[in-house]
């Protein structure tokens, strides 16, 4: 019998349509895997009944000849997407018990396309983190292990998504990416993930972190699955003022790994002194793979790359300090009201108790850089440098169509290793943040295992709206990498 939990989204969709297995069998298999995988702490809330209900609807739809694009496919939903009637917390105590009366646009599109929800996936609190250690509901553990046997980080902030997909607790999941929160966890766990162009997916109903950067995307084990999921997630939504009013291309149908005529840029600033040798070697291998697929490879320069991270760590906290002002203990979430406290004391006590350390740190940084006297020196300066970073990409597109880079500067690190040093943690996003600042589509694909047996990823960055080019180059890498490794089950 086929191991149902090892099937891809495309295989589940097609198998249900062909009657090879029922959607109920698939949902039941994944529900059992979710239950058996609790040691990974990937899910905050499990919703097996919702997965089964969607599966039964899919089986009925097959009988009546009314299958939808994702009928029979159960998925995990990052707990940053509001889901009607199911607790949504952003992994923060301040939202514990919050049950949205409405559905986010993106999750609603997935359910309307026939997908079912296995549960709400853990994440770094308010999506702030690169290791999934800042969740108020406990750390997520990667299913991967090296010889040390230590618990490893699944990456972040979409660490519940990456851990669950690589451990076969779901075939695919949603993620959100503000500075690398889809791509870095994908790289750490040997899966793929795509952040589309800013504005492709509606932000309506997604708990906001940094609104000029936040973008939903897909995570799955194959490039094709990412194309399938993203096609359903994307699309214009009048409820998001930054939503792009453009038709959604047929990314799956137009997948092609033939890169003849494409020029791939290799940004020299992404190869700093001291770049991990195994990552540098994989990058060289990636260059060879893309040449083999017919692409021409050229060196390009993105001169402001070194300023991307500090720019991000001004802009993102500034926006977060504004967005998170809404958690006041009045309208939803937790309230802490000390004896005899007035309104202002209630706000301060509620926010002190409800937010985790990293969230407070970023709110304070954001408040400081926006405060009178510092606004121009920090925030305006960062917004100007952001323009320069974006112009770097524009200049690069004059000589190439896509960029190939590593996804993260290291393989997964042990949990706890960087938790005490915020700056060391921030450096994880060094290769992913520039594309976020410029709003460009970017995708992570697994390339190889390092000498310790842990996955390493490659990243493709594309021009605005060229998700197809990104997916196609990623497919060319995927076909040549032949990455089939999966973590050995220990949980």
């Amino acid at each position: 019998m086929t191991e149902l939990t090892n099937l891809t989204v495309a295989e589940i969709r097609d198998g249900v349509a062909a009657g090879t297995f029922s959607a109920r069998e698939v949902a039941s298999a994944f529900n059992a895997a979710v239950e058996a995988g609790r040691a990974l702490n990937a899910y905050i809330v499990e919703t097996p009944e919702l997965a089964l209900a969607a599966a039964d609807a899919a089986d009925a739809a097959r009988a009546s000849g009314d299958l939808k694009p994702l009928s029979g496919v159960p998925i995990g939903m990052k707990d940053l997407f509001c889901t009607a009637g199911v607790q949504t917390t952003a992994a923060s105590h301040i939202l514990e018990g919050f049950t949205p009366p409405y559905e986010s646009t993106v999750s609603g599109k997935l359910w309307a396309a026939g997908a079912g929800m296995l549960g709400k996936l853990n994440l770094d609190q308010f999506a702030m983190g690169s290791s999934n250690e800042t969740s108020a509901f406990g750390k997520v553990i990667s299913p991967w292990r090296d010889a040390s046997g230590k618990d490893l980080a699944p990456g972040g902030s979409s660490g519940g998504s990456s851990s669950a997909i690589s451990a076969r607790l779901c075939p695919a999941a949603t993620g959100t990416d503000t500075g690398g929160s889809i791509r870095q966890p994908a790289a750490f766990t040997g899966i793929s993930g795509i952040k589309p162009t800013y504005g492709r997916c509606s932000r309506w109903g997604i708990v906001a972190f940094a609104s000029s950067l936040d973008q939903a995307g897909a995570m799955a084990r194959t490039v094709k699955d990412n194309a399938i999921l993203l096609e359903t997630m994307a699309g214009f939504d009048a409820k998001d003022s930054t939503s792009l009013d453009l038709p959604v291309p047929q990314w799956e149908a137009n997948l092609s790994s033939d890169l003849r005529g494409k020029k791939i840029g290799i940004p020299k600033e992404y190869r700093p002194d001291g770049l991990n040798a195994e990552i540098a070697a994989l990058w060289d291998q990636g260059i060879a793979w893309l040449k083999d697929a017919g692409a021409e490879v050229v060196e390009v320069s993105l001169p402001h790359t070194q300023y991307a991270l500090p720019t991000y760590y001004i802009i993102a906290p500034a926006e977060a300090s504004s967005n998170l002002a809404r958690y006041d203990g009045v309208r939803y979430g937790q309230r802490v009201l000390p004896d005899g406290a007035g309104l202002q004391d209630m706000y301060a006590a509620t926010r002190a108790a409800g937010f985790g350390d990293e969230v407070k740190r970023r709110i304070m940084i954001g408040t400081y850089v926006l405060s009178a006297g510092y606004y121009d020196a920090y925030y305006t300066q960062a917004c100007k440098v952001r323009t320069l970073i974006s112009r770097d990409f524009e200049a690069a597109w004059e000589t190439c169509d896509l960029l190939l880079t590593p996804t993260a500067p290291s393989a997964a690190f042990p949990l706890g290793e960087k938790q005490e040093d915020p700056l060391a943690m921030y450096l994880n996003d060094v290769f992913t943040v520039p594309a976020s600042l410029a709003g460009l589509p970017a995708m992570a694909v697994p390339g190889a295992l390092n000498s310790a047996g842990l996955p390493l990823g490659l990243q493709i960055i594309g021009k605005a709206l060229d998700e197809q080019g990104v997916l196609n180059a990623a497919l060319a890498l995927e076909e040549r990498a032949g990455f089939t490794a999966r973590p050995e089950k220990w949980w």
Binding site: K239, A325, Q381, L423
Partner: protein, 100 residues
């Protein structure tokens, strides 16, 4: 520019986050590390550069001026709005007394 614990307390107060003296002391080096690092942006020549406000050119839209154009963001849902309130009374959000 480096900050001290009284600046930390001022910022915490602006952000409406209660911090104890010990926490403020602990935050001083943490925040100074981060601020010291982002200050490198001051080296970048940005003369004549406009600050970025939108990553993808996109005109802001106006919707038709009609009530409940989209029921999901429309009105007449008082009970839903109040459903998650820590304290709701008589159809309102309840808060501690503000005016003596």
């Amino acid at each position: 520019m480096s900050i001290n614990s009284s600046t930390v307390k001022k910022v915490a107060s602006l952000a409406r986050i209660a911090v104890s003296d010990d926490e403020a002391e602990r935050l001083v080096p943490e925040l100074n590390n981060i601020l010291g690092w982002v200050e490198q942006l001051g080296q970048v020549d940005v003369s004549g550069v406009e600050p970025m406000t939108a990553v993808i050119p996109n005109a802001l839209r106006l919707r038709d001026d009609v009530v409940n154009a989209d029921p999901l963001t429309g009105g007449n849902v008082r009970d839903k709005v109040l459903a998650n309130a820590p304290q709701a009374e008589h159809g309102f959000f309840a808060v501690p007394k503000v005016i003596e």
